[in-house]
Structure formats: C-alpha cells, structure tokens
C-alpha cells in the first residue's frame, strides 16, 4: 500500500514538473482540403494544408494566428494575428505541405506596419534566401522552399497582421 502511494506521488510530481516546465510552441496545423493548382497561387493558404507557427499571440483578444492563412479578403477587426505585448521580436512562419518555388511574400498589416521585415526561406534546416524589406509585398527567389519565416522589427509595437501570403508554384 505504502509503495503504491509513493509511486502515485512520484508520478504526480513528475507530471507537475512537466506542467511547470512546459514551453509549447504555438502552431496551427490545417488539414489539406484542395490540391495545389498548377498556376501561380498563394501557397500558404490554409486549404492547401499548410501550418503556421508564431512566436506569441495576443490570446486575450483571441487574435488567432490561424487567420494569417485564411486568405479572406475582407476580414473583420477580430480576424488578424496580434503578437503578445511582451514579445520583443515577433515572428511568424508558414510551413508548406511540400516544397514549392516561392517568388513573392505579401503581408496585410493593420497600421502601423513594422519598420522592417526580415523574410527567410528554408528547405529543412538550410536557408535558401534572406531579405530585409520595408514593403508589404516583396519579390523573392526561393526554389524548393518548405518554410517561409518573417521576423518583424517593430520597435516595441505589436504586430497586427491580417494575412501572410507566400505566392509561387
């Protein structure tokens, strides 16, 4: 009996430690609804089974990161991702279902937009391309890219982003 109680206590203590030390990533995985078309399109759109990860989110107002990939042209004020106020260097990353040739990345910010955005493309851990821009739409050469990451330089401001598009074939 005593052994069982001690064993249960140890299991619970282990679970409590795991809970206390949890540092989960914020990741939204969408199921694939449509195959990617042959023509140039927004590869990041949720219907193609992409995944979005963000450094933080303003959960209190439910500005969910999943909205970034909705592709919805007329969102309400709710349907945007907003970074957490404590996040000093917010970033968002789209992982495509399979490698694609990305030639353009576009953002739909709610003003004020960040002063600069660093855009990086990856195939696995290998970085294919990195550019810094102040534009909301940026041409880029990323053949065979699987991930596109945007790091926002905001000078302490929140990032308020409606859409994150990665165009290509």
């Amino acid at each position: 009996m005593r052994v069982a109680i001690v064993a249960c206590a140890l299991i619970f203590a282990g679970a409590l430690a795991r809970f206390a030390l949890a540092r989960p990533a914020i990741e939204v995985r969408f199921p694939r609804q449509y195959e990617n078309p042959r023509e140039r399109h927004d590869l990041a759109r949720f219907v193609h089974g992409s995944t979005v990860r963000v450094s933080s989110a303003f959960w209190a107002l439910r500005h969910h990161p999943g909205y970034l990939l909705s592709g919805h042209a007329t969102p309400t004020a709710v349907e945007k991702w907003v970074s957490d106020p404590r996040d000093r260097e917010p970033w968002a990353e789209v992982e495509l279902r399979e490698p694609h040739d990305v030639d353009e990345v576009a953002f739909a910010f709610e003003p004020p937009a960040p002063r600069r955005v660093r855009i990086e493309c990856f195939e696995g851990a290998r970085r294919i391309e990195a550019v810094e821009t102040a534009q909301a739409r940026q041409q880029i050469r990323c053949p065979g890219a699987r991930r596109v990451r945007a790091t926002f330089f905001t000078q302490g401001q929140l990032v308020r982003l409606y859409r994150f598009e990665a165009r290509g074939r």
């Binding site: 679970a15 809970f19 949890a22 995985r29 959960w59 592709g71 919805h72 969102p75």
Partner: protein
Amino acid sequence: MNRRLWALIAAGAAARLLAWMLRPALHPDEVFQYLEPAWQRLHGYGWPPWEWAAGVRSWILPGYHGAWMVILGWLGIEGGAAAHAFFQLHWAAASLLLIPAAWRAGEKLSGSEEGGFRAAALCALLPTLVWFAPHTLTEVPSAILMTWGYAAAGASAIGILFSSAVCLRIPNAPLALPVLFSWRAIPWALLPLAAFGMIDWITWGRPFHSAIGFLDYNFVQGRAVEHGRSPPFEYFAWIWSRLGPAGAVLFFAPIALRIRFVWRCALPAALLVVLLSTQGHKEERFLLAAWPLFAIAWGAAVAPLRRAAVAAALVAICASNAHGIWRGPVHDYSGRAGLFAAQSWVGEQPDATGLLVEGRFHLSGGFFLLRRNLPLETWAPALARNPIFNYAALPDGMRPEGFSPAWSRRGWTVWKRKR
C-alpha cells in the same frame, strides 16, 4: 472502517454519479478560470479571461489540473469531453471526503457515534452538496479541506487544513475562525500560507500577488458588483427556495433548538452567509462551504432523537432540496452541456479548420473542449463569411446560410460549411 460509513460513501458516490450523468449546469469559471489556463500553459493556446490578465487568480488549482492533464495525456486523453468528464468525476469523487469528515466532526460535536452518522448521512445525500460536487471550482476543494479542519484533532492538522482551505478560496476565511482559538495551530497555518505566497512569487513575480489583487478588486474597490448585484437578503432567499419551506424548517429548527450544543459548526457557517450577504455580488456557489457545517450541526442536533424520526426528516429534507434544485432557477449557471459536446465533436473532425460558437465566448467550452489550435470565435454573420470557419455550433432553430447540419444533440446542432 465502520460498515455504516462505507455504506454512506457508496450512497454518496451513487448520488454524485447520478448528478454528473444529469449534466449539471455549468458556471463559466469552471472552464475558464481553472481548466483553460492549465490547457494554455501546457499546449500554448487558449483564452485567458481578464482575471488571468490582471493576475487575481492563483496557479494552485490550474497547476493541479495541469498535472492531471499531463497524466491524462500519457494515457492518450488530450482535452475535450473525456478530459472534462474526468475532472468533473474527479471532484465529485473528492467530495466524498466530506462524508468521513462530517462523521468525525459530528461525533466530536455531539459526543456520540449516532451524531457522526447522521451528519455524514446528510453530507452524503444532501442534493445541494451532490449537485455542486462535479464542478471544477475552488469552492469544492476549499469546502472539503474546511470540513476536515472541523473534524481534525491535532494542532498541526487543524492549522494546515484551515489555512489551505482559505488559501484556495479567500472568502471562506470566516469559516477558519476556530484556528484563532487554537494557538498551537497558528504556526502550522503559516505553512500553507507561505507555500501559497511562494507560488504567487514564482508565477506572478510577487508574493501573494493573486491574493492581494483578489482582495483589492473584490473587497477594497468593490468591483465584483460589475458582474451583477443582488439584494442583501438574496442568500437567505436562495437557501429558502432550495430547501423549500418544509425542508428549511426540518433542517434549521433542530440546529436553532440545540444551538448551545452545535454552535461550533453552525455559527461559523451562519457568519459566512451573513458576511457574504454584505457583498453586492452574490453567487450560490459561494455558500458551498457553509452547507457541510450546517449538515454537521444538524446531525449533532438530532443525535438524541429516535432513529425513525431522524430518517424521515432526512428523507424529507433531501426530497425538498432535490425539488428546489430541480424546479428552481439555475442562477449564474448555464445549461451548455450540449455546446460543450458539440465543441468536443468538432475537435475530433480531421477536416475542421475553424469553429464559430453561438453566445458569449466565456459561456463556451473554450479551447480546452475543442482541444485543437484552430480559430474559435463567437458566431457572427460577418465571421461566417471567412472560409476558415468551416463549422458552427448553434442552438437548434438557427439555420446559417451556406452550411448543412452535421451533428445534433441536447439542443445544439453543428453545421458544416458546404463545399
């Protein structure tokens, strides 16, 4: 252990299982104060209500739930209806601890085993206690610890139990008054208090941060009334309506008649009701910890009476109380078990990309019930235009355009977007 005690525990367990199966109405706090924060901490997503932004909640109960969530995860149960059922049943089972505590306290108060048995019988079967048992609220563990404080004999147990009960639920402090009459218990009472302060220091960055915030918000600024104001005698009206006239007389008359012998339990319970009545914002659950003490006082008061008469009174009290709960209003609670089931069902659909739920968000089951990191928002026609929301959980009768019914239960229908 005493056979009669085991029989009461078995009867209490059956009653609590029945209460759980009847899907008791739910208070928003059950999910958003004590389950959703643990879920968010563990999985990175969830909705924190303002209390968590302001830091007026301790991490003790969500931390406890969080550890259980880890264990459930090891067993393959990740959130949703199954995890919610586990937590409801867990607290219903934990509330069975009231029964031996009431036995001991009743025995102590009346000086007879019969007094203990009768107090325990009422704690096992009183519908108000049974109805509140499967709720993930601080009131339940605080009431259990408080009742054990009255049952305990040693200074260390008294100090630790009363202090823990108050740390979990500060407004129950008037019930811990007996600790002040036991000087040897006070140093022991400081131990849980120190642990509570330490946990706040680690989690919120300041010792007793949540307690200070809670007291400031509710009792200094008096802002609890922003969540509803009730008349001063509302608690008495609720007790009367829940017990019914016959039940109230049978319950309180023996206590009043033998108050000289049972005041040690009856007066702190009455004091809690009176002090809570001075606050504008009232909720029925705030009284929960007073009920076991009244039950103990009742058991001790009727200890000298004939067994058949007491059994008849107990049946009448329980029947009248059950009628009062069944027929009476649910006050601050909402019958949204159907929505919770709907959310849980959507979470199991592999094609789900977003869910709209009807009603204010804090009345939903949150991300804990959905158990998927997908956009989850209150239903609005403007949001229904966004294709990412391919499911909507709405009360029967609502028919959203562009969606077709996919699931229906307990007054709620899940609609799926047509492709």
